[in-house]
């Protein structure tokens, strides 16, 4: 096993609302290896985005990081990011420079009243000591890097003049300006068409190889995971239910929820009836007792309704939160 760039330990991010405490991220532990891609997969409301916001300390109100450690390893110096206050100089230095993030909607994450060159230069200006001309050249350079044609011209254009795929390329360019060690991509292709999605994923893949960057890829789309991720964590109602590598995810998933997700995707060439997961994701303010998946689980036992299962380690670097595997634990 390689060196870890990021280790998240016992992270808890709760939202204090009028209806009660919502445990959006509930005791989550994982690590990201250098140069590898970790995929976080789950349905809407499972806490995958809040996990990434917690790493960047950008949790929206009324969310609070209650507990945990986020250890970032820069040049063999380990720092706990949660030691910094969200508004501190140190945290700002990490954001954008060491860890960069791209969001789902390229349409709303760019400022409509500034040229894209301006917006890329802002990122350079904050973290690097360059003069105006050098900044501009660097902006053109990164735009070229992400495959935008005629970057000298594009650099002076406004976001509305670009297509969705181009905007996402600009977002990636912005994230790459400071050559981050870790890129967090939150549903980077969900708003894009399939042919454009393929272009963007290929770009991310190529850049990762070139810069030896680590990626945390958050998505609900198992097809994207299949192309990009090396290993995967599956989340459900704020908890990790399975840690698994890519080969096993598609060929030998363990947790009944993961199995259900894989079976829910229509396979081309097979017209069999789809196996769906019954019911819907429970409301986070009103979770079932015991295992949170138990009301939807086809293998439910008496025990499941009484006690929340821990994460059992059963194979190499796998973990599965299900009582079925209690006896197989190593």
């Amino acid at each position: 096993m390689g060196e870890n760039i990021l280790e998240v330990k016992n992270l808890k991010t709760y939202f204090h609302t009028e209806e009660g405490i919502i445990k959006a991220v509930d005791d989550v532990t994982f690590s990201v290896e250098k140069g590898k891609t970790l995929g976080i997969v789950g349905e809407s409301g499972c806490g995958k985005s809040i996990t990434s916001y917690s790493i960047m300390q950008l949790v929206p109100h009324p969310g609070i990081i209650e507990n945990g450690e986020i250890i970032y390893n820069s040049n063999n110096k380990k720092v706990n990011l949660l030691d910094f206050s969200p508004h501190s100089k140190e945290m700002r230095k990490v954001r954008g420079n060491d860890i960069a993030m791209i969001f789902q909607e390229p349409m709303t994450s760019l400022n409509p009243i500034f040229t894209i060159g301006n917006q890329i230069r802002e990122a350079i200006h904050l973290h690097q000591d360059l003069n105006e001309k050098e900044e501009k050249n660097r902006a053109v350079e990164v735009l070229k890097h992400v495959g935008i044609s005629a970057p000298e011209k594009r650099v002076n254009e406004y976001p509305h003049q670009l297509s969705g795929g181009m905007k996402q390329r600009v977002m990636i360019a912005m994230a790459l300006t400071c050559k981050p060690n870790l890129l967090i991509a939150d549903e980077p292709t969900t708003a894009l068409d399939v042919t454009i999605e393929t272009q963007i994923l290929k770009l991310m893949n190529d850049i990762q190889k070139e810069l030896k960057m680590s990626i945390i890829l958050i998505t609900h789309d198992l097809g994207v995971i299949g192309e990009m991720a090396d290993y995967i964590i599956v989340m459900y109602t704020g908890k990790i239910v399975e840690k698994i590598n890519k080969r096993n995810l598609f060929n030998n998933p363990k947790h009944p929820y993961t199995q259900g997700l894989i079976d829910s995707i229509p396979t081309i060439g097979k017209k069999e009836r789809l196996k769906s997961i019954k019911g819907t994701v429970p409301n986070l303010t009103n979770l079932p007792s015991g295992c949170y998946f138990s009301p939807r689980c086809p293998y439910k036992m008496d025990k499941c309704e009484k006690k929340q299962p821990p994460l059992f380690e059963i194979g190499d670097c796998q973990g599965v939160r299900c009582w079925l595997y209690e006896e197989e634990e190593l």
Partner: protein, 335 residues
């Protein structure tokens, strides 16, 4: 089998207005000369990228948009009748009952201040069907058909999840015993596990009521699962149409091939396997000369930039493709 719907040379253009006097400066040809037939009891899948005109096509067929040219014929009492400029109230009413539409976003297609009962019985009220009691029973019956419990009958849409809301939309569409349902991206706003439930519901209802679907989606695996025949659209035109199996195994148009190669391989193999298509979808108000796809096509030759291809039948299978080289280039299918 009998054709239930025939669309011929359908055109829907949206003007782009500019200047003080709102002069028409150009047109977006959202649906540009489209003709096809739909057989009774089949599912025709319509697939394409955003902006290709697939939703406009659905809305023009059902009459929510008025076509600029062309016509839509629908079988009423055994005769194919033009339905896009019907003035006879009786026939209009019958068409409105027999063709229904389901929209993509279950969050905005249900009125937030109406209860489930009101939503599902509204079509029955409008068409004056049955007594009050009959209607209530019908609503309960429909809710059961789409697996909603009847104790939820007085609840409001916000109390339901996305999947349940889509079930309400489906129940509403079924209220008038339609023959043809146009489904406009009905599962794309749903989570994967719920998407599978709703797709199963669509196939069950089709068998039970002998429904015909025009199923619009951008997800190629969803389209393959549900469709008997598939229509591929690009910039307002049909680029290929054929039996679902032929389209996926033996496409005859380079754009179909490109779409198929962008389907992710879900097998856990290590390498990046998709082949990206170069460029973006062109501006629909200013499409390229010749073939619409020429700038992105790796097989393009001189003729593709000069002459627009017609929809021609392939000699190799029953697909029709709008390509000058329909039988001359070797294209890869999905499997």
């Amino acid at each position: 089998m009998d054709n239930i719907l025939e669309v011929s040379s359908l055109k829907k253009y949206f003007p782009i207005k500019k200047g003080l006097f709102k002069k028409n400066v150009a047109y977006v040809k959202a649906v540009n000369d489209i003709s096809f037939k739909v057989k009774k009891g089949e599912t025709l899948g319509v697939v394409g990228e955003s902006g290709c005109g697939k939703s406009t096509l659905g809305k023009t067929i059902i009459g929510l948009l008025k076509p600029n040219e062309g016509n839509v014929k629908y079988k009423i009492n055994g005769n194919l009748t033009k339905i896009n400029d019907v003035t006879d109230k009786k026939i209009r009413k019958k068409i409105n009952q027999e063709i229904q539409i389901i929209f993509q976003d279950p969050f905005s297609s249900l009125h937030p201040k109406m209860t489930v009962k009101d939503i599902i019985s509204e079509p029955l009220d409008i068409h004056n069907i049955g007594t009050k009691e009959n209607r209530l029973n019908k609503v309960k019956n429909l809710m059961e058909k789409v697996s909603l419990s009847s104790y939820q009958i007085n609840r409001y849409p916000h109390e339901f999840s996305g999947g349940q809301r889509q079930r309400i939309s489906i129940a509403r569409a079924l209220a008038l015993n339609p023959n043809l349902i146009i489904c406009d991206e009905p599962v794309s706003a749903l989570d994967v596990s719920v998407q599978a439930q709703i797709m199963n519901l669509f196939s069950d209802l089709q068998k039970q009521f002998n429904l015909t679907y025009i199923f619009i989606a951008h997800d190629l695996s969803v389209i393959e699962y549900i469709s008997d025949r598939v229509l591929v659209m690009y910039l307002g035109k049909i680029v290929e149409i054929g039996e679902s199996n032929d389209i996926y195994t033996n496409p005859r148009h380079p754009y179909t091939e490109a779409l198929l190669s962008s389907i992710p391989e879900i097998n856990g193999e290590e390498e990046f396997s998709r082949v990206p298509l170069k460029g973006d979808v062109p501006d629909p108000s200013n499409p390229p000369k010749g073939c619409n796809f020429n700038e992105r096509c790796k097989y393009a030759k001189d003729i593709c930039f000069k002459k627009e291809p017609e929809l021609i039948k392939s000699r190799k299978n029953n697909n029709y493709a709008a390509c000058h080289f329909v039988d001359e280039i070797k294209l890869n299918g999905y499997y």
